[in-house]
Symmetry: C2
Subunit: 196 residues, 2 copies
Amino acid sequence: MAEKLNDAALDQLFREARTINVWKDKPVAEAQVRALYDLLKFGPTSANCCPARFRFIMSDKAKDRLVPHLMEGNQKKVRQAPVTVMIATDYAFAQHLPKLFPHAPDAKNWFSDRDVADETAFRNGTLQGAYLMLAARSLGLDCGPMSGFDADAVNREFFAGTTYKVNFLCSIGYGSDEGIFPRSPRFDFEEAAAIL
Amino acid sequence: MAEKLNDAALDQLFREARTINVWKDKPVAEAQVRALYDLLKFGPTSANCCPARFRFIMSDKAKDRLVPHLMEGNQKKVRQAPVTVMIATDYAFAQHLPKLFPHAPDAKNWFSDRDVADETAFRNGTLQGAYLMLAARSLGLDCGPMSGFDADAVNREFFAGTTYKVNFLCSIGYGSDEGIFPRSPRFDFEEAAAIL
């Protein structure tokens, strides 16, 4: 039976982890990126639909394509970060269910309604984005998630002619303490939760 | 600097963790539920907007209200699980930004466009749902997430007259090996990801 992780691990994953705004000049290796994927891929999704698609922006050439579409405050951060992941969603995910969910051969048809498919894609692709962030932290990497960008322009630049749309971005690397905001308040349990 | 968590922790969070279908008759204490919230609340959200709202269904009375609205295959599981969390989203989250994001007094106005607000609410509330699952696993608890329920009926029963809507459900407790599906395939790195 699983036990509670130790306090250092809980601090690293949740309590002490902070969104990074300034990145150290320390590279992330391709092997780390692959190890990250090999953890996050196991996170649960509805009917194992795995609709997230990941683009790891690491080269200057790829940064040149992304940076013009970011809000000004995010441009320097993405230039500086060794990796920025584009978490995208494949809205045609259902075509892969015969492979991903083999024990239910009709699973593809559960998503024939467009609204159901779109909501499932966005919900589960976003869950996978969170798995990515916590997998990164579990590997000793820091995260800097961002929503401040021109999604239409990013889609045109990276996903024209595909069924993919960008969801959000997350820089990954080794964060500097510099530029970290003071921790913002969280809701108390009673403000956000209830036991029924 | 943070280090990689040990293999046992990575197994517990990702590699060996499985969606539970049969629950042991072992309770989860209110203190564990509060400890769970006190971890997940630190996960990052856009402008710290924290739009998820959590209803921890633990009493028979609350299960009586929820179970009739579940797909048949989920009814027994929720009856059996010591806790089932309703992860809901507050679509009026922006009103709380003066409290949650105090260093940007105009943050509330970033979400005055209804489509932007709705997308932000769903994306970030879903991220928090993933934080909940990984926080539960980090505390040694198992998860059984579910989307198979009548969302309109659940909203009428639990959230009438509010700005909250249910997102998904997740049972939490101690799982039995019984009823666990064989691990379904995942995409290889090249199928779902690319380094640019």
